[in-house]
């Protein structure tokens, strides 16, 4: 059993397909692991034991009947609690949706079910995906399996912690400014933000519509690719979904190589605020790629310095509007309806009681930025910055095939350290959010432990839009070289829980 939970998704799928393991066996092993460790980790907000076992049994029956199985049939998965699941609670980490049971499945949920993936439950997250530590969850923080007093990243800390604690071999996250990649980086796992429009947003509760993107989380590059292929593709229910074939990510992950590739290093992604051990591991990664045959190119992307500012205007603006629907009228929490108060008052009381401080802060900020009189100076300028960042990326990709950087300036910080210092918290995403502003694809994968604290460091790889396969090609090569160098996957160095 202990070995079973350490298998990769690819291995599990193979063993189920060959009959060596049953899906029920695999599911039960993971449910047992969750039972054993999740009290400490708190990766899950809801465990769907019955649903998972039913799905697993269906896979086993399908196999018994000789029907063809999907590439990830029977593999357990932890789903971020931001995707709607018919009949299964969806809270988005917020009190305002406590107890809400959606009447419909997100497209990602549908695709997972159709691929016979076993959904174990819903994972913890910063409320409405706003945060970089999962401390903003209304249901309490998640611990980092490497050190439970440290943050697991955010907003998708539940998903990354579930992977790092071997509660699930696969997870789904969403990435608005880094919420897949930063948690992956600080937990020593792999996370991919696909090209904007690559994965349907239908049924993914919106934080910032023009930035949000769902994506795969896993412990290996190949597993991420297999999951990527399952959830990606055109969706007529999402107007911003790309109507083109999914890039050949699995093929790329199976054929990792950086030989002859031009790899860009952006000078704006280092300096003050970057932990020494993070920069050390990053520089080693660059050296490794050079050894593997890549050409390293220095890049200057001056507008990236404005990315954080632009992001913290655009994302709050869109969220102030997206979250207006939580008004106590049709679903979710209702506070103060004593028969005398107006709908208007009940809405304001409910939102006051139902939203946490970070959500309120961003709603206020966005309301401000969109107000008449401020719109041009703030929202309008932020959109111009967005154009400049996109142009910087375009220019960079004329010279290189991929860009690399540290995923995050520091390793996991202590729970509580930045909780009431929003600007310090926002800095955790300084390397990841330019990618969201431009809509490119990016991956984070482990590149070692920082010598000073022994915590994982993430390497970010960025590819042009619709070239997601390049992430996997480069990522697989780097992963293979590091694993060979370390003699084992990095996660094996994590303390047992």
């Amino acid at each position: 059993m202990a070995d079973l939970i350490k298998l990769t998704a690819a291995e599990i799928a193979d063993k189920i397909a060959s009959g060596e393991l049953t899906a029920v066996e695999v599911t039960e092993a993971h449910l047992a692991r969750i039972e054993a460790v999740d009290e400490k980790v708190h990766a899950f907000l809801h465990i769907d034991r019955e649903g998972a076992l039913a799905q697993a049994r269906a896979v086993d029956e399908k196999r018994a009947r000789g029907e063809e199985l999907g590439p990830l049939a029977g593999v357990p998965l932890a789903l971020k609690d931001i995707f709607t699941t018919e009949g299964v609670p969806t809270t988005v980490g917020s009190k305002i949706l406590e107890g809400w049971i959606p009447p419909y499945d997100a497209t990602v949920t549908k695709k997972l079910k159709a691929a016979d993936v076993v959904i174990l439950g819903k994972t913890n997250m910063d409320e409405f995906a706003m945060g970089s530590s999962t401390e903003n969850s209304a249901y309490g923080p998640t611990g980092n399996p490497w050190d439970l007093t440290k943050i697991p990243g955010g907003s998708g800390g539940g998903s990354s912690a579930a992977l790092a604690s071997f509660e699930a071999p696969l997870a789904i996250g969403t990435d608005t400014g880094g919420s897949i990649r930063q948690p992956a980086a600080v937990t020593g796992t792999v996370g991919v933000k696909p090209t904007y429009g690559g994965v349907s947003r239908y049924g993914m509760v919106a934080f910032s519509s023009s930035l949000d993107q769902g994506g795969p989380c896993a412990r290996t590059v190949l597993d991420a690719a297999l999951l990527h292929e399952v959830i990606a593709g055109h969706d007529p229910m999402d107007s911003t979904s790309i109507d083109a074939p999914v890039p050949p990510v699995v093929e790329a992950a199976r054929n990792g190589s950086v030989e002859g590739m031009r790899v860009g290093v952006v000078k704006q992604f280092r300096g003050e605020g970057y932990q020494a051990g993070v920069l050390q591991r990053f520089d080693e990664s660059v050296a490794l790629m050079k050894e593997l045959g890549a050409e390293i190119v220095e890049l200057d992307c001056p507008s990236f310095d404005l990315a954080l500012a632009a992001y913290y205007l655009i994302a709050p603006s869109e969220c102030s509007s997206n979250l207006a629907r939580f008004d106590a009228m049709r679903y979710g929490l209702r506070v103060g309806d004593d028969g005398t108060k107006s709908a208007e008052d009940v809405t304001a009381l409910t939102r006051e009681a139902g939203f946490g401080p970070e959500v309120k802060r961003r709603i206020m900020l966005g309301t401000y930025a969109l107000s008449s009189g401020y719109y041009d100076a703030y929202y309008g300028s932020a959109q111009k910055v967005r154009t400049l960042i996109t142009r910087d990326f375009e220019k960079a990709f004329e010279q290189v095939d991929v860009i690399v950087s540290p995923t995050t300036p520091t390793t996991a910080f202590p729970i509580g350290e930045r909780a009431d210092d929003p600007m310090a918290m926002y800095l955790a995403d300084v390397c990841t959010l330019p990618v969201n502003l431009a809509g490119n694809a990016a991956m984070s994968l482990p590149c070692g432990l920082a010598p000073e604290d022994g915590l994982p460091v993430g390497l970010q790889i960025v590819a042009p839009a619709m070239k997601d396969d390049r992430l996997y090609k480069v990522g697989a090569a780097v992963e293979a070289a590091f694993t060979a160098k370390w003699g084992h996957p990095l996660l094996e160095e994590a303390p047992s829980l």
Binding site: F83, T84, T90, V92, L97, W100, P102, P103, Y104, A106, R201, Y202, G203, M204, V205, A206, S208, S209, S210, P236, M237, D238, S239, T240, S317, E318, S320, S321, A324, R325, F326, D327, M329, R330, Y331, G339, A343, E344, T347, T367, L370, S371, S372, Y375, Y379
Partner: protein, 502 residues
């Protein structure tokens, strides 16, 4: 303010010049909503035509209805607008329980159609050009029922009940530029504009534009400026004026009210006002402490609409003859006056008469039935002419039976009554009610003989030369035949049998 505080209309116009702006919302007749696949059919159970998108459930997303865009372009073209080659939807943010997302997906500074005009014809035939600022796409809200207050009013209600079947139905909002120079005819222009717009929308086939069902709603913005000055005064916005007559009354009332305020040295407050059908007055809406700040921004869940020029030209080629042009053509074909044509238009009878003529009736007969008997019935029942349960084909058949002499007018009215009562088509009603004109000379002759025998005194008078007295005998025969005889023929027979020259 009560009605007694108003300045007389004549006095108001002697001192002030009205400037109007009209905003009309039209619900499109698409099969599905603007951003989701829910049906728009009328009469469904509450909340039976809703989905995650039009309920604003977390995670849901909009997708644009292609027919909605096509209809918007057609309306824009028919209003002589420029069609944007690139435009976007925007979010208009404000909280209201009938709006599931608490923002309306609308268009802001990039409407799909802009800078057009509509020529409207006034009662006396004068043509007035109303300039169009823009026509843009948006979505309707849900419907609330207020419980606990007086007669379903919002004030004093304990709570409200919401049905979101209407939420998300496509709307086109058509906004005029300030209408200047109409002077005392401003209310008439307002009414004629809305009437003409309604005809246009119907002719395009994009909506039935039934005002009484809320498919077309008008906001009347009005301000006054002292005669001879240029600068616009402060305007009031009278919301949801939902009949042609009300549009005219609301404009007239506001002219009188503004004049009263201004001439007593007062100031007009920019506010929304509500129109009251009962007495034609308007009253102020809720005063808001703060000006609305809708925080418009481009809708990030939708991508821009960029209608290709080929598509626009294709649509232009499908536009029907404009209603005013068509009306003038029909007026000549039917040989009626401007005034009569206006009445036909106001009664909503143009298309019905055309269809009746197409079904074989002559124009005079078609007009006579629709504008006479049927208009009276519609009026009595408080429904639109087109809503009466009788078709142009059926009216044409009645006219045909009259023309052939099988029915007289009186019988024809009974046939129509039968059709309206659901007894079947005209021939069935004739059959069932036994309503044929009695043309069997033998039977008629017997009836005449009997009438003469039963009214010997009258018959003597007639024989004595008092031909006018024949009417009484005709009446007796008609009564005996239950009205089914041709009265003219009965009269002939009576005079013949009594040996008198007619």
């Amino acid at each position: 303010m009560t009605v007694t505080d108003l300045v007389s209309y004549e006095d108001a116009l002697a001192a002030y010049d009205p400037v109007m702006g009209l905003e009309v919302h039209v619900e499109l007749g698409t099969k599905t909503k603007m951003f989701c696949g829910c049906s728009t059919a009328l009469g469904a159970d509450a909340n039976a035509q809703t989905c995650p998108t039009c309920l604003g459930l977390p995670g849901s997303l909009p997708v644009v209805n292609a027919t909605g865009v096509e209809s918007a372009i057609k309306i824009g073209l028919a209003l002589n607008c420029t069609i944007a080659d690139w435009c976007r939807f925007a979010r208009k943010n404000y909280f209201y329980p009938d709006m599931p997302k608490n923002f309306q997906t609308s268009q802001y500074d990039e409407p799909i159609a802009f800078d057009g005009y509509l020529d409207v014809q006034l009662e006396d035939g004068e043509v007035f050009r109303v300039h169009i600022e823009r026509a843009h796409m948006e979505e309707d809200t849900g419907k609330s029922t207020h419980v606990g207050g007086a007669t379903g009013r919002i004030h004093g209600a304990r709570h409200s009940l919401l049905d979101y079947n209407r939420a998300g139905i496509p709307l086109i909002e058509i906004v005029t530029k300030p209408i200047e120079g109409a002077g005392e005819r401003a209310p008439e222009v307002a009414k004629a504009y809305v009437a003409e717009l309604r005809e246009l929308i119907k002719a395009l086939g994009v909506s039935e534009a039934r005002m009484e069902q809320g498919q077309m709603r008008c906001d009347v913005n009005l301000s006054l400026r002292p005669n001879g000055t240029e600068k616009f005064g402060t305007r009031s916005e009278t919301k949801n004026v939902n009949s042609l007559r009300s549009v005219e009354r609301a404009a007239r009332f506001e002219i009188q009210r503004h004049a009263a305020v201004l001439s007593s040295g007062g100031k007009i407050v920019q506010e929304t006002r509500h129109f009251h059908e009962e007495d034609g007055s308007t009253t102020p809406g809720r005063i808001k402490e703060e000006a609305e700040d809708y925080r418009y921004f481009p809708e990030p869940d939708l991508v821009p609409v960029a209608p290709s020029r080929e598509w626009v030209e294709e649509l232009r080629a499908t536009l029907p003859e404009l209603p005013r042009v068509r009306r003038n053509r029909l007026r000549e074909e039917w040989g009626v006056s401007e005034h009569d044509m206006q009445s036909i238009l106001n009664a909503g009878a143009v298309d019905l008469i055309v269809a009746t003529v197409e079904a074989g009736a002559d124009a005079a007969a078609a007009r006579k039935w629709w504008m006479g008997e049927l208009a009276r019935r519609a009026n009595e029942d408080g429904v639109e002419l087109a809503a009466l349960p009788i078709t142009p084909v059926q009216v044409a058949r009645v006219a045909e039976l009259v023309a052939k002499g099988d029915l007289n007018d009186k019988l024809a009215r009974q046939v129509i009554e039968g059709v309206l009562a659901g007894e079947g088509d005209p021939d069935t009603v004739v059959e069932k009610r036994g309503l044929k004109v009695v043309s069997d000379e033998g039977a008629l002759g017997t009836a005449v003989d009997e009438a003469i025998a039963a009214n010997a005194a009258i018959a003597d008078k007639i024989r004595g030369g008092k031909v006018a007295a024949a009417g009484a005998l005709v009446g007796a025969v008609m009564k005996a035949t239950r009205g089914q005889a041709d009265a003219a023929r009965v009269r002939e027979l009576i005079l013949e049998k009594l040996g008198v020259e007619g």
